[in-house]
Symmetry: none
Subunit: 250 residues, 2 copies
């Protein structure tokens, strides 16, 4: 699947489609990806797949479909990812960081040289759900006509993949950023779960209605792109919050 | 057809499709144009038009189809144009100026404020013919995977119109981001001080040698660009870490 002349960065980037209804859009997505040098497609609970129409619209990008990974949940599709970008046309009142796809592509370029990156797209009808958006570290938006923002799914994929290619193949940085190991989505989910337990323990959130405050905390840490080691530091604090060391001077 | 909030520049730009075979691509083109603020579509000898499939794929951009101008020749479609850009995936040996669509979009922006501009696209199968390319003042190319450059017609239109919009609006998002109040340096220092006290309290850092771990935490929160409100959330956690609520269930 890898091509000789292309940047290895492309191999660290996956496109994730959530619950796609029309198989034609899956085929068009494969074609859009391949024209921009991307090959790794993940499908979360697609309505129809494999499918003849998908194959037909993929034209010569059938290999992308052949290697597509189908999962039952978004969590599975993201488990080993260190940076997750949700592409969304919706206006959201959430305090999650929002940037343009052009800005997001620069982040993708910076991170994908050493880490796994996911570009996540929602359904044709309503885009990313709030629960799906919560799994993303940042949201990327395609600037559009405010009176008609409704891009077709495969066209949104085309624009995001195009911007990614433009970022990766031009304007290379003249220095090497120190490679750090970012936390995976799985690390983060364990950390969030740990945090929730501790925050309930200290009475910060009500176990029966924890939603709002906790979501804000998820968003805060989500946009930070935590390193593996930093997650360990934070979990060390959580552990000691519940069981302080005996030699504490207080 | 014109929208109130959009730049008048968009009204001086037309998309011209040459001899399109599949009416679905005409519909998808209308949708792609409208999402990017363009409204004026010219169709040179389309195989089928008007057409139900075009209408269906245009979704809510039916008005672009309703106002489309059908001509028998490319010359007619370009008669009153002052700047003509051919969008082409082909490599050409012609001496015509070739640029990326991003560069071309900057030219479009400069010219379309006072003159009529056309973005011309060829057929699905073979793109612009040499005769059609000769009618264009410059050729614009979409950077693509050298091993698979074949963008779908409507997706090529999407990318060109997107770049045009990015150039004209200088990449503004279509909504106002909620203004958030970031924490001041003073807020942060108070937060760090509070955190240090609490981490000593729970035995996470040694009051006599706190330096290294604590610096890492500062760095983590420092890069996050915390909002004022988020600092308050985090300090709420710190306060409860030392004095859990009495009704804590543990």
């Amino acid at each position: 699947m890898s091509s000789t002349s292309e940047s290895p960065i492309f191999n660290n980037i996956r496109v994730v489609l959530c619950q796609t209804s029309h198989p034609g859009n899956i085929g068009s997505t494969a074609r859009a990806m391949k024209t921009m040098g991307l090959n790794r497609l993940y499908l979360v609970r697609p309505k129809h797949f494999p499918d003849g129409e998908a194959k037909s619209l993929a034209v010569n990008a059938g290999d992308v479909l052949d290697h597509a990974v189908v999962t039952q949940t978004l969590e599975e599709a993201l488990a080993d990812c260190q940076f997750v970008i949700g592409v969304s046309g919706k206006e959201r009142s959430l305090s999650q960081q929002v940037m343009t796809v052009r800005e997001a592509a620069q982040e993708v370029k910076a991170v994908a040289s050493h880490s796994e990156v996911a570009l996540v797209f929602g359904t044709e009808m309503s885009g990313l759900s709030n629960a799906e958006a919560d799994r993303c570290h940042v949201l990327a938006t395609i600037p559009a006509n405010p009176e008609y923002t409704s891009l077709n799914l495969a066209q949104a994929v085309q624009v995001m993949c195009y911007e990614t290619r433009m970022a990766v193949t031009t304007g290379e940085l003249h220095y090497q950023e120190k490679p750090v190991e970012l936390a995976t989505q799985e690390d983060l989910e364990r950390f969030y779960e740990h945090m929730r337990e501790v925050l309930e323990h200290i009475g910060y959130i009500n176990p029966r209605a924890p939603k709002k405050l906790f979501e804000r905390l998820r968003r805060l840490y989500g946009r930070t792109r935590l390193e593996k080691e930093e997650v360990n530091l934070l979990r060390g604090i959580l552990t000691l919050t519940v069981n302080p060391k005996k030699h504490s001077k207080y």
